[in-house]
Amino acid sequence: MSKQITVPFGPQHPVLPEPIHLDLVLEDERVVDVIPSIGYVHRGLEKLVEKREYPEYIYVAERICGICSYVHSNTYAECIEHIMKIEVPERAQYLRTIWSEYSRLHSHLLWLGLFADGMGFESVFMNAWKLREHILDDMEATTGGRVIQGVCKVGGVRKDITPEKLDEMVKGLKGMEPALRDLTSVFFNDASVSHRLKGVGILQKGDAYTLGAVGPTARGSGIGIDLRQTGYAAYGKINFKPVVEQSGDCYARCAVRAKELFTSIDIIEQCVKKIPEGPIEVKVTGAPDGEYFARAEQPRGEVVHYIKGNGKRNLVRHRVRTPTFTNIPPLVTLLKGCELADVPMIVLSIDPCVGCAER
């Protein structure tokens, strides 16, 4: 047996956009054990719920994450609405679905760019982010914010989209589709990309299930869980299938995200066809009294918001379980037995968002 050495990895690392620290125990070049630690960007946002009134806290809840921000506000609002038994107008639900899918598109494009950059494919990184800019432009035109939309509120949404703008958005997405196909074909067909990703970091289906993997990490290992199928917002009225890949390696996780781009465009198109006329919000009076778990599908996987209120304007407890936190145990399993040079790709392949995980 050769001598074991420990190599620190992160929180600052050239290929790692997120402050996670891993102690890699190596035997020669092979990783035999991993000790992950987080705690570099903790902000105590959940505690803040006691100091802010529940309608205003949604702006704080949205800022838990800088990329999947919209889904956080959506889930928080749904949680409160369920406790207070508020019926959200149908138009608002469709608008929420459209914005959720837009945020998924922008998050996946961002991740595809970062992933390409991680393996040294910088031109793909630039192209992915160029396409992402069109998505952000549409988001800014409809909500007022590029990444922090601030458009969801308890009881509905704050902004409406005109029918002309909706058509324009769909036209824009359809126009983008050839460019997206070009971009994703690099990940599917390029020989050097396949060589770098195929067979690297395999997560078996059983492991993914027992370790509680969520989102594209689980779907890449053949588990077809997609919280959108539970039918929150307007997803119940939309026809779509979750993207599932069987091989469980980095390539599969990448393929899931690349294919989900087209699912998202399809969902947005269906929403625009079905969206009814009507009000976009209902007046909310009173305060939540009770508790509820709301679950939703973020770009990175399942997010759970737990809220407890006691009939006052300030909530008693708010707890968020984010997908990255859940994906850390599978990540540790993935890293055991891999080569040191594959560590960055494997860490990136679960799409870590530590800002989310620590709140």
Partner: protein
């Protein structure tokens, strides 16, 4: 697998306009809904403190006796909440982002008109906005 896949992209990029903007020189793209920074019309403010109570980051401070309205731009997250609750609509959202700030700067204090009752004496006496570090 295809060959010369990249050449297509290279040629397209050669004959198209730059994808980036020369940002500070040319202004950034803005839409009518864009949230840049909060501005106040001092003549309209009645110091009701609604904006201060609703602000999720406690960036706004209203002094009723001194008739001042103050915003800390380093704390403000530009959520549009104060603009929505303002009863006299004296707060507006400017579409341009504020200039870059340091940790100590960014506090803007404005003397405002105050409640409507006192209007006959001095309508908009100290309505001039003044900047303070």
């Amino acid at each position: 697998m295809t060959y010369f896949e990249m050449t297509k992209t290279v040629i397209k990029s050669l004959f198209s306009r730059p994808a980036t903007l020369m940002y500070p020189v040319k202004p950034a793209k803005k839409t009518p809904l864009s949230r840049g920074h909060v501005t106040i019309n001092p003549a309209g403010c009645i110091t009701c403190r609604s904006c201060q109570r609703k602000c999720p980051t406690q960036a706004i401070c209203v002094e009723v006796k001194e008739k001042t309205w103050q915003i800390d731009q380093m704390r403000c997250v530009v959520c549009d909440c104060c603009v929505e609750v303002c009863p006299t609509k004296c707060l507006t959202m400017d579409t341009q982002y504020p200039v870059a700030l340091t940790a100590r700067g960014g506090v803007i204090k404005v003397t405002v008109a105050g409640p409507k009752k006192k209007e006959p004496v001095a309508p908009v006496d100290g309505a001039k906005p003044e900047k303070k570090e």
